[in-house]
Amino acid sequence: MDMFVLQMFNGLSISSILLLIALGLAVTFGLMNVINMAHGELIMIGAYATYVTQNLFISYAPQAWFDVYFIVALPIAFGVAALIGWLLEVVLIRHLYGRPLDSLLATWGVGMMLQQLARTIFGAPNVGVSSPAWLNGGLTIADGIVFPYKRLFIIALVSVVLLCMYLYIYRTSSGRRMRAVMQNRSMAGCLGISTRRVDGMTFAIGSGIAGIAGCALTLIGPIGPSLGTYYIVDAFMVVVLGGVGKLVGTVCGALGIGMFNTLFETYTSASIGKVLVFVCIVAFLQWKPRGLVAIRTRSLD
């Protein structure tokens, strides 16, 4: 029973992490149709932004303030990753719209450069990011069942990011313009929307969310130049399984993969669990090639 509750929680927790890393990609790949292989590196940039913020706090802020650094790091990680994402869009991706394979190669190259850049600046070894004290430890539900605060925090963070994105895309005028451009670029342009500005903005938002994911990942895993490469495959897996172009799909994809991964891993081993998840995804995509939630528009028919 303990094991069951714990594993349900673990499944949810893995899903939330998958969702966080896939959300940014859902914007750039799902909405804009850009295969951004540098997405993992944007996550890495968010993680290093957190590391730098931490060090600045250690060097310049009074010691009592240290635990606040993580809250400060979240918007910084978002900002830095969004800025770099925006630059990437302006100088490179803008010229490659409608050419998915070219953008795949180009962003992959950019990803490798960013990795090497991180290695040059921060060195090849992992850097240590210590979590704030208020996230240490866990909530004891019953004897033997502990829900780590960090995992609870990540679940809460994902919920907030998801809510903000929903509000932005469906409830603001700038979100409406974004949807208009993604669905019919030339028509939106005819109606006076600056499609270029919207593209840049959208890409920056997707990248910024990757930055937040990087910030959250400092709580659970290693922070090194190749951080992004661990997560990029999972992120694409979630978006493709979920169905391109729909937020709901991304959420379902992340939940499905996270839960099944935990389930398989409990009864087999980590390696076999992952293989089983892939087998299920391949089988599912044979049956429903457009993923869990397919977008219904005329342009796709």
Partner: protein, 416 residues
Amino acid sequence: MKKRTVKLWSVLLGAVIALTGCVEGGTPPEASGSDGAGESTSSGEPIKVGVLHSLSGTMAISEVSVKDAEMLAIEEINAAGGVLGKQIEPVVEDGASDWPTFAEKAGKLLQQDKVAAVFGGWTSASRKAMLPVFEQNKGLLFYPVQYEGLESSPNIFYTGATTNQQIVPSVTWLLENRGKKFYLLGSDYVFPKTANQVIKAQLAAEGGEVVGEEYTPLGHTDYSTIISKIKAAKPDIVYNTLNGDSNVAFFKQLKDAGISSEQLTTLSVSVAEEEIRGIGADVLKGHLASWNYYQTTDTSENKTFVEKYKEKYGADRVTADPIEAGYVAVYLWKAAVEKAGSTDVEKVKEAAKGLEFDAPEGKVTVDGENQHIYKTVRIGEVQEDGQFKELWNSGAPVKPDPYLKTYDWGASLSAK
């Protein structure tokens, strides 16, 4: 249209410049230093040696600092007059964390550069890839990392520990001091799997019990399920053979699951000072490791070594077991060459038999039979400052026994 093309080209050009800038920034500054060293006092042609490690890719994390230690040793020897009155000229090659590249670069060093010896490798996969190259070309490789044993090549000197100098004594110590129930956790490749076979044979013979065994892919980062399984199995000890980055995720998540080092002993064989920096000393505090050398090892040779290493590479750098083994390898080769009076591989091998050297870890001796070295075993506990406190040591250097022939239970392993 034309304007756009120009812009694209300028972007591409910028990118290329940025990339080459990065690559240049990444190459070791020693390369230019060695040229200068070649012109100093001593006479005659310099002696070339190869330094072959992963300076890029996933293993760069570990191997760059070993390369640094080897370069330091070469520099020291050159400053003291070199070998046989000649300067040593290092030829640095990048194995790029790719095993075929290791084999290819080893071939290049032996055939084209005609180096007298090569210092290099980290993973067992890279060593296994280089082994036939060294045997065919009759070259000489110094391999500086602890490994899974069950190997001894006439063309390789092993300056890291084999299983009976690290794993086997630590299992005995754990059985005596911490408990009988073992949970084996490792990365899914050759070293952890072989090491765990040795551990299982030993536990069966010495009255221990295996309550669980798990392998995760290299680079795996979510250990929540495995931690649940560990909780359910209630072991006394987690014997950790995870490699690389996975250790960061595992230990962080273990702590968050509310399992402290007081409730559960973990002993790692691939977590040293360098790794502690990335994981965080507060997370690892109280956990154990088994090695032959720690930065805190109390010998006068070590004090000088740590001082010199920090002076050259920065005060925030740390030394660790494989770093020390790389440093010692260069000095052992030098001693053997001087004793042989030649850099000829066969003569050097003959001269190396029984050679002694006062290493930072204490006295080491080359075993004439299997070309491993006698090493002292040390079990250490991680302290708050990221350094180890020694809990136990073997007292005297342990004779290397890669095939575990001296153990009754070892017979079945070496037969395979």
